[in-house]
């Protein structure tokens, strides 16, 4: 056997030729295997076909991704889009009915960190895959969760498109209001005790995106004293509605004549659905609504 050869093959092929061929073969097999792994996985039957969503936002996002037909169970709070209301109800966000979920034979359950941990463990004991989605605290977290969700369904591209669209719109809004004066905003979530939105909440991000200053930003806990509100004199008060309480609270604030917001009657109630459980798209819609409120004069 020759040590060197002219790559003519045949009987005279040499040692290094063998080595090279062997190496090439290995490389080929390796690439083939890794490619099939990487590309065949998402389209394999591992993709969830029957999903139980225990988070209203996730239900809405699944519909956005065009996977509404894969949902077999939702919570009683999953009201949007209207189609979601026809799905089987399996409980609330925090308390679910295990029997119902098992009967629906899901291969993916999406739970919230608020869901009873014992129930989650029980489902996992029964070999049902449960994914816990962390609560997003701002727009970026929201988009991240959205993309993570789409990855589970193999619909990343669609999600990226939606996120991109939302980002562009949000950027346009920010540019449009860049020169406007920022007003002090107080957000009221609960009435008794008075509860506000801290820095690590959506509402804070919503207000800042819409060109406002969230007064509760530096609060340590969400509980806020009425005296403090009066002292810091907000220019706008937003009341996140909880039924008729919103209108009642509005009247309470109107009595404090020293507060600028009361003087100018700049007290508004906003829908708790859009504020508390947004998708990337509805986040932008809410920002638009806030911009209209904050910069009505400009």
């Amino acid at each position: 056997m020759k040590v060197f050869c002219d790559w003519s093959g045949g009987k005279e092929s040499c040692l290094s030729c063998y080595k090279a061929m062997l190496l090439a073969l290995f490389t080929l097999v390796f690439f083939f295997v890794s490619f099939t792994c990487a590309f065949s996985f998402p389209s394999s039957p591992h993709l969830p076909r029957r999903i139980v969503s225990l988070i209203p936002t996730v239900t809405e996002e699944l519909y956005l991704l065009g996977a509404g037909d894969k949902i077999v169970g939702v919570t009683v709070y999953c009201q949007r889009p209207p189609e979601a209301q026809t799905k089987e109800k399996v409980g609330t966000v925090i308390d679910v009915n295990i029997e119902k979920i098992i009967e629906l034979r899901p291969n993916l359950v999406i739970a919230s960190p608020l869901t009873d941990h014992k129930q989650i463990r029980k489902l996992r004991n029964l070999d049902i895959e449960v994914k816990i989605f962390p609560e997003a605290r701002d727009f970026d977290g929201l988009c991240k969760n959205f993309v993570t969700l789409s990855r589970l369904l193999g619909r990343e591209q669609k999600a990226e498109e939606i996120v991109q669209k939302a980002r562009i719109e949000l950027g346009a809004i920010k540019n449009a209001i860049a020169g406007f004066a920022k007003s002090r905003v107080f957000v009221q979530i609960g009435a008794n005790p008075l509860f506000t939105a801290k820095r690590d909440s959506f509402i804070n991000d919503l207000i800042e995106c819409a060109g406002g200053i969230n007064m509760g930003r530096d609060a340590k806990t969400g509980i806020y004293s009425r005296e403090e509100v009066i002292k810091r004199n907000p220019e706008i008060i937003l009341i996140v509605t909880m039924g008729i309480v919103g209108e009642k609270e509005k009247e309470v604030w109107l009595r404090y004549k020293t507060v600028t917001a009361a003087k100018n009657r700049s007290i508004f109630t906003v829908d708790s659905y859009s504020v508390c459980s947004p998708t990337p798209l509805s986040f932008v819609e809410t920002v638009k609504e806030f911009v209209r409120i904050f910069h009505a004069q400009q």
Binding site: V76, N97, I98, P113, H117, K118
Partner: protein, 336 residues
């Protein structure tokens, strides 16, 4: 006379066992999902792997078993404590056991114990909290090895209040996510995913039942008063200590696994006293069986009444237990 008493007891036991079995079958048969019971045998033989099998044997059956253990355990604990204190208002939670357990669980959840130590951290911390409080109550109220019952009771009540104030303090400063965990636990639930915990609860509750049966005669004597019991040859201090330890252990274990399920330990012993009489030999057996049946029934109602949502079982035990008891009391002359 004597033999007729024994035959009455046997009839009562038989009746209550039949009742318990009926409740168990009822509880297995109803739920948010319709499962015809005639399919049960089919499921048993070849249903493995189907959703129906999982619902019946891995969702409903464990709850029934835990209900049996905890309902029986709390009822027994209530009987022997009421017998020892000769006080109709005493129940297993009076001595601060529930408060201690709740405080332990609270601190565990707030410090992030379940994330570090796994799911067993919650029952462990509950039991530890209960043990600490019980030991404290005992140490304060015991002098020279003798328990003074009125002191024990008062200190138990005070410690309970202190514990619940501390729980409120912890809840006021805690994060929202943790708050849910604490409230879930305090409301009590028979949902427990860990089968070995259920087994442990069953063994301890049946063991406690057998152990306390050895003190049934002493408890009969104690119901005449400590002094009379002493003259009847009962080693009063020893018996009191034993009862205290058994009741604490039983209650501590029950609370650690299921959280605070109220009313079972108060109302079941009273109801059984009305029905079978005050002799602890039958009272203990009857209370165990009916306590188990009562809790299983209440849990079943809590499961189905607003399905797919679920009520806290304590709501039903309070309403049903209180209602039945007031009715029974108004129909019969009853003195403790």
């Amino acid at each position: 006379m004597h033999s007729s008493k024994i035959s009455t007891w046997i009839w009562w036991t038989f009746f209550l066992v039949v009742l318990l079995l009926a409740v168990v079958f009822f509880s297995l048969a109803v739920g948010a999902v319709d499962l015809p019971l005639r399919k049960a045998f089919f499921l048993l033989t070849e249903g493995r792997g189907t959703p129906e099998y999982a619902i019946l044997f891995e969702v409903r059956l464990p709850r029934v078993l835990l209900g049996l253990a905890v309902g029986g355990g709390l009822a027994i604990s209530g009987v022997i404590l009421q017998g020892m204190f000769r006080n109709p208002l005493v129940e297993p939670y009076t001595l601060g056991i529930s408060g201690g357990a709740a405080l332990g669980v609270c601190l565990n959840i707030v410090t992030g114990g379940p994330n570090v130590l796994g799911p067993l951290a919650t029952p462990a911390s509950g039991f530890l909290g209960a043990a600490c409080i019980v030991f404290m109550v005992y140490a304060i109220s015991a002098r020279k090895g003798a328990i003074r019952l009125s002191r024990l009771l008062l200190i138990g009540v005070m410690v309970s209040f202190m514990a619940s104030s501390l729980i409120m303090l912890v809840m006021a400063v805690t994060r929202t996510e943790d708050l849910h965990g604490i409230i879930f636990w305090i409301m009590g639930s028979l949902e427990e995913p860990n089968p070995s915990l259920i087994k442990a609860a069953l063994i301890i509750s049946i063991g406690g039942m057998i152990l306390s049966f050895f003190y049934a005669v002493d408890l009969n004597a104690l119901s005449l008063g400590e002094e009379d019991a002493f003259h009847l040859g009962v080693k009063v201090e020893k018996v009191k200590k034993a009862i205290f330890v058994i009741a604490s252990l039983l209650t501590g274990c029950c609370v650690a696994v299921t959280g605070i399920i109220g009313f079972v330990g108060l109302v079941v012993p009273h109801l059984m006293r009305l029905l079978v009489g005050g002799d602890h030999r039958i009272l203990l057996v009857a209370s165990y069986i009916s306590g188990a049946a009562f809790l299983i029934l209440c849990d079943t109602v809590a499961r189905v009444v607003i399905a797919p949502m679920e009520l806290p079982v304590g709501v039903i035990t309070g309403l049903v237990g209180g209602g039945v008891f007031i009715y029974a009391l108004s129909r019969k002359s009853y003195s403790f």
